[in-house]
Symmetry: C2
Subunit: 535 residues, 2 copies
């Protein structure tokens, strides 16, 4: 088809129509104190002349302008003048803050052109392969809140499973780094450690950071709060010290003490990642490509040059088999290589929770006991942390391969790791905590073995669920304290674990879950599953 | 793993805690006049004791109960006591109406159990095949507004393209019929006609219904309003008569006159379809499986026993090639067979708009001119309508195959079709309309040929876009009037089409689109695309 530019002959000259129909009718901005959670929403009254003239339908995307500032928002129509008047435009909290203009200011609204990346989104929905520019455009729009929840979800579902080939995962990672700030610590070696998740109690970071920082490596660790797990590193660290630090303070602490354990939210690293996660988590979507892009983009944006990545495997871990773990490892290694990040993947034992405590206070107790070389410290947490810290220490050019573990162990045994942790805690803002008398939820119940035998299985998912029902992490003293681990012999009636809660309703929900299934299996010694992992 | 029921030993008896933490704390219901467009939203103040105690996070799903009524809603947190007080629960319009309880009543809120079908949704997202019970459960939850926009979008994206095999499409169709009411007209023959869409001006239904109703067949036609097209049958019929009829009135009219042309919204047929469409359309998703389920579920719910389905093909139609059309036809035929619907698929000429007018008033003019046997009536609209009406008439056991066209033509030529249409119009509630002087938008401009030759192409999508920019269908007198159709010779400077609008800004947008491309191609006679369709 050969489209032509036609000659246009006006048969009836349009009269200038009153202000309503000139492009961008004017309204007064009103801040609507509704938290719509990472989606821009605008509110117009149904009888507003602009709403009626422009042909907006509810959920249309509109463009809101004030001088040279523009945002996109989904439109909700309002039937109450007390909420929004006929000459007003309401904006939800996110949208109001993004526009950055004071309430009462004059704004103009018009039908939005779709975000420029929508064509690429539609191509990916149709199953086509996208290039680097496509991903940049999509992620730029996502980070700027130009996608509605519908468009965001479509992107997440259309890029899961094996819909992205490995080069597309690289493009996506690259685009996510480009969507926010990228830190530069001005040192040749900036180390970090990350776990893909799924193992309750796995707070190795809180030991690795003080150990490697005591050795002299720069380890500016930012972590997230728990989204679906019982506690995240940021939640557990917050028992010991402030974690929500202004970025400048975080940078000072790192320069002074070589490490920190802070919440990542203040640094605006990979902002698109947070928006994507807000959709991935409710849907239970966590595919390899998205996981790689999420983790590596955050680490690269944080300025890491060297990363040790922990992939636990086990029957109730995120990764269930060695072939799956190897596939995931290869994808991480491919993308890290393209992004010039030095990556060391360690496949670890994910058959059960790490340590004894699940929940912020209980985990903080375990961490402090390891640092203090307390005999009650959980040995698996200690050993795993030493091995991971050792791998990080081996990033130093002056350390021989294989020597890292011993160096890490010396740092821990000598108390230098404890000392470093106390420095970090003090610099971030100490909270009072005593691992001998931690402040736990005031209600509790014990779960005991129904028969004698050997612990042959501990269900990570069920234990995590019980800890969450008990109130973790919102209630920091809530959670589960494991008394018996895999391979241990138990007699009938012995306590397997104790659940702590603060509120009766939380305790009740946790009890109900335990009654369905405790998460523990007891059997014969030969039934304990094997794990073939490197160390 | 062999999970056990544990013995629970309470080590600390929980004291009864005050009312906040019993299951289901009480609040006063407040109606929030915000139209959140088919998604239930609940509003709690951030300082509300219930919000803080329950551990809700923004966008959690909560369950709202009043006596035995329950709904699910997504939570938005509010920071303004004027919007929602600390002892109140706000509900958006949809949610308030669904709960069906008066403002001020006491309601209880708690964390929602996920809708029961979420497991099936996750399985489909993971790429698994679902069974009939899965689809029933999902569609039941969707129709009851228990899915958030995120979950809805995930379902739509995970069931598009070839993600559903043909039996799953049948299960989906069955589930959609079961989600709403199903009409029974108590007659052995209830006929209907439907087009898959994509061809502007294609108002054959408004001719087919009066023709077949005049013959004596029961044809209770309900149609939708335009969602992305310039006009739907309901929009065009609304120029001539009321279309939003209470269901009982619609049923009376059908019994009395054998036919109607009404808006389908009052009958609550396949309610899940409307919810799904609210997500499919913004994303431009319209895959074969979803299309078949949508169309057939609506027709079966409407009580049709016999359906003639029009599938236009052409370079700018929804279906671009004969193999694609045949694939789609076979899927429709398979599902219709399983659902015991008698289906006749007709593949038609979709190379250009049907008729001359695009837009409600212009199309109504064309329809009335055909009915009045006016010489200005567009012949393609007349011919196509006769052929489709003939196929429907051949559903009668007393009509021989091939005789339907002649019968339909007689009904039209004799004026019986016009008479029947006037009866239907009067029964539904007549509006004044004169096809000799239709009330069109007061502004217009002409698009003329830049060179002489033959019309070799007319872009359905571009012409539809121009008509929408001009204001159609919200402005009923807006649209495009085509003066030249495919295969016609034109001289340079001759008018190809005229665009009507009511507002200057609409006219301007339409002009800008025409200037980019008129949608017409002019070339040599041999360049007119062929179409191999049956008739």
């Amino acid at each position: 088809m050969n489209p032509l530019s036609p000659a246009l002959t006006e048969t009836h000259t349009p009269e200038p129509h009153h202000g309503l129909h000139e492009e961008g009718a004017e309204l007064a901005l009103r801040r609507i104190a509704i938290d719509t959670y990472r989606e821009n929403v605008a509110y117009l009254h149904r009888d507003c002349a602009v709403y009626r003239a422009e042909g907006f339908q509810a959920l249309s995307k509109i463009e809101v302008r004030s001088n040279d500032k523009r945002i996109l928002a989904s439109l909700n129509v309002v039937d109450d003048l007390a909420l929004v008047g006929c000459h007003e435009l309401g904006l939800s909290e996110d949208a109001f803050l993004q526009l950055g203009v004071e309430a009462g200011a004059t704004v103009t609204v018009s039908q939005a052109e779709p975000p420029s990346s929508i064509g690429a989104l539609h191509r990916k929905i149709s199953g086509e392969r996208l290039d680097a520019e496509d991903f940049k455009a999509i992620i730029r729009d996502i980070a700027a809140l130009r996608y509605s929840k519908i468009e965001l979800t479509a992107f997440v579902v259309a890029t899961q499973r094996d819909e992205l080939d490995r080069e597309e995962v690289y493009f996506l990672t690259q685009a996510m780094v480009a969507s926010g700030r990228k830190l530069d610590w001005h040192e040749p070696l900036v180390v970090d450690k990350h776990c893909i998740g799924g193992i309750p109690g796995n707070r190795t970071s809180m030991l690795v950071v003080p150990i490697v920082a005591a050795h002299g490596l720069l380890c500016p660790k930012t972590s997230s709060r728990a989204i679906t797990s019982p506690a995240g590193t940021a939640d557990t660290m917050e028992v010991l010290a402030n974690v929500e630090l202004p970025f400048e303070l975080l940078a000072d602490i790192v320069r002074q003490h070589r490490g920190c354990l802070a919440w990542g939210g203040t640094a605006n690293l990979s902002p698109a990642d947070d928006v994507l996660i807000s959709v991935e988590r409710p849907l239970g979507i966590d595919s390899a490509g998205q996981m790689v892009a999420s983790i590596l983009s955050k680490k690269i944006a944080a300025g890491s040059t060297h990363l040790v990545l922990d992939i636990p495997i086990g029957p109730t871990a995120k990764v269930r088999s060695m072939p799956d773990a190897q596939r995931l490892r290869r994808l991480f290694e491919y993308v890290a290589e393209r992004m010039h990040l030095s990556l060391d993947v360690v496949i670890t034992d994910g058959r059960q929770p790490v340590g004894n405590g699940i929940g912020a206070v209980l985990e903080a107790r375990d961490v402090m006991r390891v640092l203090e070389n307390d005999p009650r410290a959980p040995n698996d947490l200690r050993q795993k942390s030493l091995r991971l810290a050792g791998r990080l220490i081996e990033c130093s050019p002056d350390v021989r391969g294989g020597d890292g573990f011993a160096i890490a162990r010396d740092i821990l045994d000598s108390g230098r790791a404890l000392s470093k942790m106390n420095q970090i805690i003090k610099a971030q803002g100490m909270k009072s905590f005593d691992h001998n008398a931690p402040l736990l939820g005031k209600l509790s119940f014990d779960v005991t073995a129904q028969e004698g035998g050997v612990i042959t299985g501990i269900d990570n998912l069920q234990l995590a669920k019980i800890a969450r029902l008990a109130g973790s992490p919102k209630v920091i003293g809530a959670g589960v304290d494991l008394f018996k681990k895999l391979g241990t012999a138990v007699a009938s009636g012995e306590v397997l674990y104790r659940v702590y809660a603060q509120y009766a309703s939380d305790l009740l929900f946790a009890q109900q879950a335990c009654q369905k299934t405790s998460g523990y299996s007891i059997g014969m010694p030969g039934e304990v599953p094997h794990v073939f992992v490197e160390f």
